[in-house]
């Protein structure tokens, strides 16, 4: 069952590779079928794993508590992204990229050893190689170097060089300062939906939690403080950059980096609520940034000016529902009460301030800056007098509404009944806490 979860998108990827790059008609049904099948298999596997309390094993593949919920979540996000893809994105290149990221991420979630994890990691890098080289240079370099680091780490044994290589790969992929530069340009020059999914796999956090903490407990103890300090720096740095960024896809990338770096900072809090908050924040970032990016992409497909708005575009008058989906997803990312974001940040901030007052001060500050940036972006895109030249564009179509509603409803239900999700993520939080306790001097 677990292998089918990965095989379906992998097969679909090969199918799209064989199609001509210029084919535009009815190309998404294989992807929808593969993503739906993958989601069903992932749900069954994760359900059995959660209820039995034991890891699901299939040969080299193994699904543990840490990756259980993210597996289902990621499969669902891929399906949402395909369902809500505008016509302009329904081409073999986009679909192959999505399927590659999906197969790679799901494979990495189910990888029991580092080499298989490398295979998944490598698959997710395929989108960087599908476009012109000049456009994706940053992502390619970062991808290849991180993959090289991982491969080397898997061959050099359990000494400190292996840990340094592993941590470097994680920092490169997660876009931790000073390696954050690739993400904004990938979002701008490539498809923001694909790169948002690439980031939302959170493979770097998984790499550190599953392999870093497990294989190198003592070294992790030394390094986690430093890594989380860099994560904190990234949160503030990216938030500041986003404040003056004019390009919408770059801005969304910076917001995603800033908020996603909270996850590592949460692990560093080393207490139950902080780690639990970090595992919930993982879900929030994935759902909220996907909802936000997909809504933005639909808007951009209707009005290309949205990519670099000058003044206020006033698109909300023409696309009020897309505006609403964008706003709710974006505000959930920065902790709108009633959504899962509020719960995750409440836990995360409490945990952080209990262990490191600096963390507890910096994370709310970064969130406040990001919230201001999000509202600025929303206002620039959706409020104002619509340009006379803007044609009569349709609002969200039924299938797009359905896909985006799934994101928003998940965020709202998670916010109203958070204990269900906290309980689901508890084994993951316990696993990280146990590994950190193993690594701590006490």
């Amino acid at each position: 069952m677990l292998s089918l979860t990965i095989a379906a998108p992998l097969l679909a990827m090969f199918f799209y590779f064989r199609r001509s790059a210029n084919t535009f008609s009815s190309t998404r049904w294989p992807a929808i079928a593969a993503a739906f099948f993958s989601l069903v298999c992932a749900t069954v596997t994760a359900w059995v794993t959660l209820t039995s309390g034991q890891a699901w094993s299939e040969g080299l593949l193994e699904l543990d508590a840490l990756a259980c919920v993210p597996l289902v979540l990621f499969a669902a996000l891929v399906l949402i992204s395909i369902l809500a893809a505008p016509k302009v994105d329904q081409n073999p290149r986009f679909m192959a990229s999505l399927m590659a990221v999906s197969a790679g991420t799901l494979a990495a979630y189910a990888a029991s050893d580092l080499r298989l994890f490398c295979v998944g990691w490598a698959l997710t890098l395929i989108p960087a190689f599908l476009g012109p080289s000049s456009e994706m240079m940053g992502a390619r370099v970062i991808g290849v170097v991180s993959l090289g680091c991982l491969l080397l780490a898997s061959f050099v044994g359990l000494g400190w060089p292996a840990f340094v290589l592993l941590a470097t790969a994680a920092l490169l992929r997660k876009g931790i300062f000073p390696f954050h530069f690739w993400a904004p340009s990938a979002f701008e020059k490539g498809s923001p939906v694909v790169w948002s999914l690439f980031l939302n796999g959170h493979l770097a956090a998984l790499l550190l939690a599953r392999f870093g903490l497990k294989l190198f407990p003592e070294l992790s103890k030394e390094a986690l403080g430093l890594i989380s300090a860099f994560a904190l720096l990234t949160a503030i740095y990216a938030a500041l950059l986003a404040m003056v960024e004019k390009s919408t896809p770059r801005l969304i990338a910076l917001l995603s980096l800033s908020q996603a770096s909270f996850i590592l900072a949460g692990f560093e809090s080393r207490n139950a609520e902080g780690i639990s908050g970090a595992t919930l924040h993982w879900i929030v970032v994935a759902l909220a940034t996907t909802g936000m990016t997909v809504a933005y992409r639909l808007v951009e497909a209707r009005s290309p000016k949205a990519a670099n708005p000058i003044g206020f575009l006033g698109l909300g008058g023409r696309m009020p529902r897309l505006a609403a989906f964008f706003l709710v997803s974006a505000l959930a990312l920065v902790g709108l009460p009633g959504t899962l974001g509020f719960v995750a940040e409440d836990l995360l901030f409490h945990g952080a301030i209990e262990s490191h007052p600096l963390l507890g001060l910096a994370l709310p500050l970064a969130t406040a800056l990001n919230a201001i940036t999000i509202l600025r972006l929303f206002f620039r895109l959706f409020l104002g007098q619509p340009a006379v030249s803007l044609p009569q564009v349709p609002d969200a179509k039924p299938i797009e509404r359905l896909a985006l509603s799934a994101c928003v409803v998940a965020l709202l239900l998670g916010g109203l009944f958070p204990q269900v999700l906290i309980n689901m993520r508890q084994p993951a939080a316990d696993a990280v806490a146990a590994m950190l306790a193993l690594a701590s001097p006490e």
């Binding site: 740095y237 990519a307 000058i310 301030i353 709310p364 206002f379 104002g384």
Partner: protein
């Protein structure tokens, strides 16, 4: 009615606006937009029933001799030792404010039926009014500061979206963004205050951290802890109630429709800061520093508010500064420990100011009628202060009033400016972008307009 029924009644009053908000939002997202009639009738019925329920609750509590009612639903969520309790509190402080919220929300809904009739944003206005009513009810009845934060932020976001209601013009949108900036920075005070209380006392539930019943509650916090928590709450309260140094946002918020200005900035939203401090009164009582700071903030705001009020050219801005002045005085009363006086002042001020805001659009018409009736202009008033202030000082005060106490200038110069410059400086080190916007004549024109705006 049994205690359980009364508990359910209180919970229903708080939750019903949220239910309407969610119901109408979901219907709209799926493609159905309710008519004006359905919206106004359902709001009318809900707010009327809620008002009756609050009245019944109050009378029952008075008859039973109860001073407070705690409705505990259990825990919303917990992890490790951290728990988020879900509990509502109705006492002598929260019930009058809850009644005020329900009464004025219903009144504003009724007023807006005609005021916004056939406006493009009619549905949006009602949605945001319901979200606000839920947020405000939650703030006033939350039994813990954690839960209060949820309502606090909902009020903030609904307030900002209503300021940008007439978004065809640039000014409301720009002002809404600026107000949001002030809110978010000030809200850090509430967030950090809550974390601090958790750190020191392990809880923020008022029943756990204060002994007794409002207004005779006492806190067991030490002087330094009370000072830290009190000052953080004062920061948050100053942001919400437009007190120094956050006082420049209130006139900007007048860009919204008049009914929303009335309920947000005349009545409910601006008084939330004062409510927070009244709720945290036992903390202020322990720390003369925090209480003194509250008095100073209130006095400075009252002085700046009255100066600006006297030189404002338009009715709504003038009313906004008048509100700010009264709120300054309420802060002084809270700082000095006159809790009952502050509560009565809040209720009276909210009612009078709402009336003034709602009458503002027709006020000019009234003036013209009065001038016609008097066969000329009415005699000027307010000259008696001139006798006490030297002419040179008068000029300075006039200038200060015109510049709104120079606060916006200082914030731009010392906070916003350096932050933006730092961000631009950091952006210089980012890799160069490929996507350069083609500067056509049209784009250049828009850019010039943007800079001018």
């Amino acid at each position: 009615m049994t205690d359980l029924d009364l508990n359910l009644l209180l919970a229903a009053v708080v939750v019903s606006p949220a239910c309407q908000f969610l119901l109408f939002s979901a219907a709209w997202l799926m493609g159905w937009e309710p008519s004006e009639k359905i919206l106004t009738r359902s709001s009318g019925v809900m707010f009327s029933l809620s008002l009756l329920a609050v009245g019944y609750l109050s009378v029952s509590m008075i008859i039973d001799g109860k001073t407070q009612m705690l409705v505990s639903v259990g825990e919303w969520f917990h992890s490790g030792e951290y728990k988020f309790p879900l509990a509502l509190l109705a006492d002598r402080l929260s019930l009058p404010l809850l009644a005020l919220t329900v009464l004025l929300s219903g009144l504003i809904a009724s007023f807006s039926r005609r005021y916004l009739h056939r406006d493009r944003g009619f549905f949006r206005f009602f949605l945001l009014l319901h979200l606000f009513a839920f947020g405000a009810s939650l703030v006033f009845t939350a039994a813990s500061f954690d839960l209060m934060l949820g309502g606090w932020e909902l009020v903030g976001i609904s307030s900002v979206l209503l300021i940008g209601f007439f978004n065809e013009r640039k000014a409301p949108v720009s002002n809404a963004l600026r107000v949001f900036g002030f809110y978010r920075i000030a809200d850090l005070g509430l967030l950090l205050g809550i974390f601090f209380l958790h750190h020191v006392l392990g809880s923020t539930a008022t029943a756990n951290i204060f002994l007794g019943v409002w207004p005779n509650q006492v806190s067991e916090l030490g002087f330094s802890s009370a000072t830290a928590a009190g000052l953080l709450f004062l920061l948050a309260a100053s942001g919400k109630s437009a007190q120094f140094p956050f006082c420049s946002w209130l006139p900007r918020a007048m860009e919204g429709p008049t009914p929303s200005s009335a309920i947000f900035y005349g009545a409910i939203s601006v008084h939330m800061g004062a409510y927070l401090l009244l709720r945290a009164q036992p903390i202020l009582a322990v720390s003369p520093v925090a209480a003194g700071a509250t008095v100073v903030v209130g006095l400075v705001t009252a002085f700046l508010g009255t100066l600006s009020h006297r030189v404002s050219a338009d009715a709504k801005t003038s009313l906004a500064y008048a509100s700010m002045t009264q709120l300054g005085l309420i802060f002084v009363e809270i700082g000095l420990g006159f809790s009952w006086l502050a509560l009565i002042h809040i209720l009276g001020h909210a009612l009078v100011r709402t009336l003034q805001f709602l009458r503002a659009p027709s006020m000019l018409h009234d003036y013209h009628r009065m001038h016609s009736a008097a066969a000329g202009h009415l005699a000027k008033t307010g000259k008696h202060y001139d006798l006490f202030v030297p002419a040179g000082v008068q000029l300075w005060l006039y200038r200060m009033g015109l510049e709104r106490g120079f606060i916006d200038v200082m914030i731009d110069r010392f906070i916003v400016g350096p932050t933006i410059r730092l961000a631009h400086f950091l952006a210089m080190f980012e890799p160069k972008r490929n996507s350069v916007v083609a500067v056509t004549a049209e784009v250049r024109e828009e850019m010039v307009e943007g800079i001018d705006a």
